[in-house]
Amino acid sequence: MTAFLKLLFRNQLAALGAVVLGIIIVAVLLTPVLPLQDPNVTATADRFLKPLAEGHLLGTDHLGRDMLSRLLHGTLLSLGVGVAAALLAALIGSAIGIVAGYVGGRTDNFVMRGVDMLMAFPYILLALAIVAALGPGLMNALIAVAAVNIPFFARNIRGVTVSLAGREFIDAARLSGMSHTRIVLTELLPNVLPVIIIAMSTTIGWMILETAGLSFLGLGSQPPQADLGSMLGEARSALITYPHVSVIPGVMIFLIVMSVNLLGDGLRDALDPRLRSGALSRPRATTLVDRQGEVPEATDDLLAIQELQTQFHVGPRIYRAVGGVSLAVKPGECLGLIGESGSGKSVTALSVMGLVSSPPGVITGGAVRFQGKDLIGARYEALRRMRGDRVAYIFQDPLSTLHPLYRVGDQLAEAIRSHHKVGKDEARKRAVQLFNDVRIPNAQNRIDNYPHEMSGGMRQRVGIAMALANDPDVIIADEPTTALDVTVQAQILSLLNDLRRDRGLAIVFITHDFGVVAQLCDRIAVMYAGRIVEEGPTNAVLERPAHPYTKRLIACVPELGGGRRELAAIRGLPPVVDDLPPGCAFAPRCDKAQPDCKKGEIPLDGAGTRAVRCLYPEADLTRDEEATA
């Protein structure tokens, strides 16, 4: 709760709104006990006294009634009606929304079309019609304002409920024997409640305004009862000659609505999980660089990642996602980067082209060299020219990387045209050629498909075609087959393999699957907790793993043809990278761990092509190297 308040008040405008609204509410709540004059006692002799007149701090109105007293009583009434209308609208609207969203089908259709019809009327006309039918009066104005706002809540809440009702925990609740009513009340409602509160906080000011509007027209509170709208209405005739009579309630309405809206926006920002996590704040075009220490010397590799360190700064915490990783690829080579979720393999890959989103990502050390040129800290223009042109990416889920509203061919052409000055027809011809290269049948027609019209395998082929569009030197493929079925995976892998042989592509292939790596990659590097723990030629590492983690991870993966058996498991969980233990990060889960594993820096040591970061490796690398030599 305190964290929530802190978050809320970090927004200064929201804090201002809270303060103003707080003062108004306190003043209004104290009204009955304050020594004020009766708001309804007329004294025609004292009419239209100016503010600061004797006995009347804010003057008097056209009937000589004390303005201060009427203002406070009127505010109390207006606020009360506004809040009550908001509660009523939220209650009924949310109930309609939840039921329609949960039941779905015909009920949903019927109810929501009714709500749509209600929304089709201009709101003030609808409110007038309701008041006309019920007769003027504050209570009827309240009902009218509530009724006018029901559709807003109903539609909002229905949308949220529909997405929640499809979630697995609702199915689980049904299997636990819960009745529908209970599911709505105990499973759905608590999850919808924040949305209701957000919707309420943003509409309450609007409702106060609407009530005032009805009262202004004489349809709300009836004389002599004061509310802000009716005070304005009565002062209308003396607007020019005695402006204070209308300005005072006007300013009060302004203050209330303004402060409620500011506070409401603040509440929404603090409650909405997407806003809270900063997802809607726009990331920078390249990852922030704040390099400490020396920049490593250039090498003659095509792409070399050198001592790369990438961190995420979230509040006071620092997550060392990549803690000093060095990798290199040559033309035509395929390097496999293996690791579990959270091991830093994707962040390593994204750091190459400065694609880690900042905030919160920061590159704090090392270098990434493409043909010897350092890319870390390069200007955005320089990076942009290389992205997709020299170094291209293939991502896991092609459905989320392709734009749903553009034809795939146009997206492909765009990728070409953003790097090369070619005409539309030429780009289209190249796109068809690329579709043929990645073996999409019937390329000429397929090019005009939208992403949703293609199967997962076909979409991933488009993703690969897009990566190939500018004939890059390096492709970084981040779990490109994880979302695909096995038969499709096999096709995509063999396609990538052919492409690399035909075009001399260097591929960095990120995966968690040893089977895939074994078939495609020449060399592999195994990552754990942001560092490389072992690297070497694929067959050597898979046959004689040197790091205990590699060895046990290989054992965890069941292999086809092994028959029914108990699987090896690694106890415990991978560490969180904001608080890594000293020494080997795997030591707490390792059977062979000795006291000296848990202190000091353990170097990535090796002989020849192999290297391992372990004090007590499972295999002797020097002997291994001699044997192959």
Binding site: F169, G177, Q519, C556
Partner: protein, 316 residues
């Protein structure tokens, strides 16, 4: 003894009627299929996306009403699609462990629900039962008052298993229970399920797309393609000696260390369109052995060898 018996179970999703045309034929997500699972057995169900695995599972637990056919659990016929009735006999472990737990409830409230609603158990008995279950899934009791977001995927999945166990079912359907987990954690959960099976005398229906995993945990395997069973056989032999070309394609596609990379299927073939299903065998379009017979008549499941059945006109 048979724990689960399914006869001609089918599900067709009706499409919306267009304003001026006749109602199109529905999508046949599950075509009539029959199989049974013996008590204490683990039946693996394999297939690619869109083959009807999840629709089948949802019908079996009563979350979806079948269009035709019957389900018999422990000798009792259940055809009313009432999860409350099904819940005591058959439970479900979901694929995504975190999305299957209500984020606004404590773990205790989640695990308690089946005891309270299905068995109307009083408070003290519930407490005792919960600690017993928590003990068997290797979770500490102090977790009970925490919220789902505080747990890792592996822990959350064990909570999901604990909830299924709480209902004291005969059968548990495991729908891709480890595909959202890391490999090092995956094995922990699979081994735990094996232990629980022996401890509580459970029967499993294990749905997955991962051939190696399903082979490691199952007694028998059912291969689905386009909503129909194409092959059933013993787990230790079905992938080594497949009779249906699709099963062979699956087995050849699985990445295996030491096998050179070749695409088992060169043409970029796609699954048949469910809105416009082909006549005859659904696999014919991708099958190297397909003949005119395959394109005309849909093959039925026939016995081929001991305990192996395949639906193919030209078996391997």
């Amino acid at each position: 003894m048979t724990a689960l018996k399914v006869e001609n179970l089918a599900k067709t999703f009706q499409l919306k009627k267009p304003l001026f045309r006749a109602t199109p034929p529905g999508v046949r997500a599950v075509r009539p299929m029959s199989f049974d699972v013996a008590a204490g057995e683990t039946l693996g169900v394999v297939g690619e996306s869109g083959c009807g695995k999840s629709t089948l599972a949802r019908m079996l637990v009563g979350l979806l009403e079948p269009s035709a056919g019957r389900i018999e659990i422990a000798g009792r016929a259940l055809d009313n699609a009432d999860p409350e009735e099904f819940g005591k006999l058959i439970q479900y472990v979901f694929q995504d462990p975190t999305s299957s737990l209500n984020p606004r409830k404590t773990i205790r409230q989640i695990i308690e629900a089946p005891l309270k609603r299905l068995y109307k158990m009083p408070k003290e008995k519930r407490e005792a039962r919960i600690s017993e279950i928590f003990d068997s899934v290797n979770l500490r009791e102090e977790f009970l008052d925490r919220y789902p977001h505080e747990f890792s995927g592996g822990q959350a999945q064990r909570i999901g298993i604990a909830r299924a166990l709480a209902a004291n079912p005969e059968i548990i359907i495991l729908d891709e229970p480890v595909s959202a987990l890391d490999v090092s954690v995956q094995a922990q959960v699979l081994n735990l399920m094996e232990v629980l099976k022996a401890e509580f005398g459970l029967t499993y229906l294990f749905i997955t797309h991962d051939l190696a995993v399903v082979e490691a945990v199952s007694d028998r395997i059912l291969v689905l393609y386009f909503g129909a069973v194409v092959e059933v056989g013993r787990a230790d032999s079905i992938f080594a000696n497949p009779r249906h070309p699709y099963t062979k394609l699956l087995a050849d596609s699985a990445p295996v260390v030491g096998r050179p990379l070749t695409a088992p299927e060169q043409k970029g073939s796609e699954l048949p369109d469910p809105l416009n299903p082909p006549t005859g065998c659904a696999f014919a379009g991708r099958c190297p052995r397909a003949t005119d017979l395959c394109r005309k008549t849909d093959p039925v499941l026939e016995k081929m060898g001991d305990d192996q059945f395949a639906a193919c006109h030209h078996p391997l």
